[in-house]
Amino acid sequence: MGFEIDRTVCIGAGTCVIKAPAVFAQDPDDGLVVPVGGGVPDSPEVRRAAEACPSGAIVPAP
């Protein structure tokens, strides 16, 4: 199981970049999350990022 990003709720706080810098970055214009590679894998870092995300923008893939 992986995770998905919901950019419509992202507020650009950057908590995911702190928790999982290899997976998440921020768009330099609006600060919103962008995945560094293709998808968002399930890993301890990504789980911490999902927990820390203030706006629920990192959600388990269905």
């Binding site: 650009g12 706080a13 950057g14 600060g31």
Partner: protein, 403 residues
């Protein structure tokens, strides 16, 4: 059937004697039995109080709970505030608006406070920090850490970032901290806000006339009225002046009480990042927030009615044993992920990445420069900001051995 709740009570704010970092004892007791409880507000409203971590997080993230100022009630009495609804927040005061206004402001600002942009300031924060430490060394041993170090480092940085002349940052600092002081009269708060607003309005007009290479200079190019931009400037300056300064001073004070922890600050960048998150959690200086239900919401087995105010004790939540093991222990090596010290939900702190950069530079540098740094007065004589919306100390006399 949910267990019946105790009678509504006012919000407890008095910290336990001799424990200036801990939540009021009543809040801990409440959290362990009734993480959602009834609370009586100073204006007579009977609303709610959240002290448990999971529920606090749920309320802060739920858009059915509003941040609009005209709907909220003050959780604690405030000098001179008349009973009755508060006025709506003016345009630009984004912390007190909901979507879509809040979203528009936040989108304009988030790209300017990204992890990458704030980390690019690291070297500048290091310079400012080193200059203040040099000045301390020249002046001491024996200084007030608040005035000599904790306030100027973030103040000089936020002024430079925004493009606000920093010459008078001590004066700005006093104005801002009076707006966070629950004992300040309404007139004092109004006068402080008017002075800050007047000054920043003038600065916004000057930057419109000739844009400068700084954040406010960039924002004059956005679709914002003078009033919006002035209020954004008031918020950003205020948030930059009276938050991290308290984290630095209160953080040093907390480390004096747990000196065996200080070594963690010299164990490399990852250890420092972890330590900063734990200090944020343990101190949770922005301790209390308020939301108002826009519709009926079922939460924790109770029905919160539309119009009810909900006070969130982030401080009690960050000491919830259901979330953090031994929550009342300051443990710089723990993983404090999930703390609510910077808030949660759409309003989570905009400047958090700047705060992180400042804290991870300033605190290790302070103890590296002065390995024998210690309080110059007994802990119970340190003047704690008991009645402030932002916890901290008014002054922290420190000393050290000269080499």
């Amino acid at each position: 059937m949910p267990e019946s709740l105790p009678a509504p009570a006012p919000l407890s704010t008095a910290r336990p004697r001799g424990c200036p970092f801990d939540p009021p004892a009543e809040l801990g007791a409440l959290r362990d039995r009734h993480p959602l409880s009834r609370m009586s507000y100073p204006d007579g409203h009977v609303g709610w109080l959240v002290t448990g971590h999971a529920l606090a997080r749920a309320v802060a993230a739920d858009r059915r709970f509003s941040s609009r100022q005209e709907l909220m009630r003050l959780p604690t009495p405030r000098n001179g505030v008349p009973a009755g609804p508060l006025p709506p927040a003016p345009p630009g005061m984004f912390v007190s608006h909901d979507a879509p206004e809040h979203t528009r402001y936040r989108r304009l600002l988030a790209g300017r406070f990204t992890v990458r942009r704030m980390r690019a300031l690291t070297e500048r924060v290091e310079q400012i920090t080193a200059e203040r430490l040099d000045a301390m060394e020249g002046e001491g041993p024996g200084v007030d850490l608040v005035v000599a170090f904790a306030q100027p480092v973030p103040a000089l940085m936020i002024c430079e970032l925004l493009g606000v002349p920093s010459g008078d940052h001590g004066h700005f600092q006093r104005l801002v901290s009076s707006t966070n002081d629950q004992n300040a009269s309404l007139e004092e708060v109004g006068a402080a806000m008017a002075e800050l607003g007047g000054f920043l309005h003038g600065l916004v007009l000057a930057k419109r006339a000739s844009p400068t290479d700084d954040l406010l200079g960039e924002l004059v190019g956005e679709d914002l009225t003078d009033e919006e931009l002035t209020n954004i400037a008031v918020l950003l300056l205020g948030a930059g002046l009276d938050t991290t300064a308290n984290m630095i001073a209160l953080g040093a004070f907390a480390l004096f009480t747990a000196p065996e922890q200080i070594a963690a600050l010299s164990e490399g960048p990852e250890a420092v990042d972890r330590a900063v998150e734990e200090l944020l959690r343990y101190l949770t200086i922005a301790h209390t927030g308020v939301r108002t239900a826009l519709e009926d919401v079922e939460l924790g087995g109770h029905l919160i009615r539309a119009g009810d105010s909900v006070t969130i004790s982030a401080l009690a939540a960050d000491r919830d044993p259901a979330k953090f093991t031994d929550p009342d222990v300051l443990d710089l090596r723990r993983d404090a992920t999930g703390h609510l010290a910077l808030g949660h939900g759409a309003h989570q702190c905009l400047g958090q990445q700047l705060a992180r950069v400042e804290l991870r530079v300033a605190l290790p540098a302070l103890f590296e420069r002065f390995p024998t740094l210690r309080p110059a007065v007994p802990a119970d004589e340190v003047a704690v900001r008991e009645d402030s919306d932002i916890h901290g100390v008014y002054s922290l006399p420190v000393t050290w051995d000269e080499v």
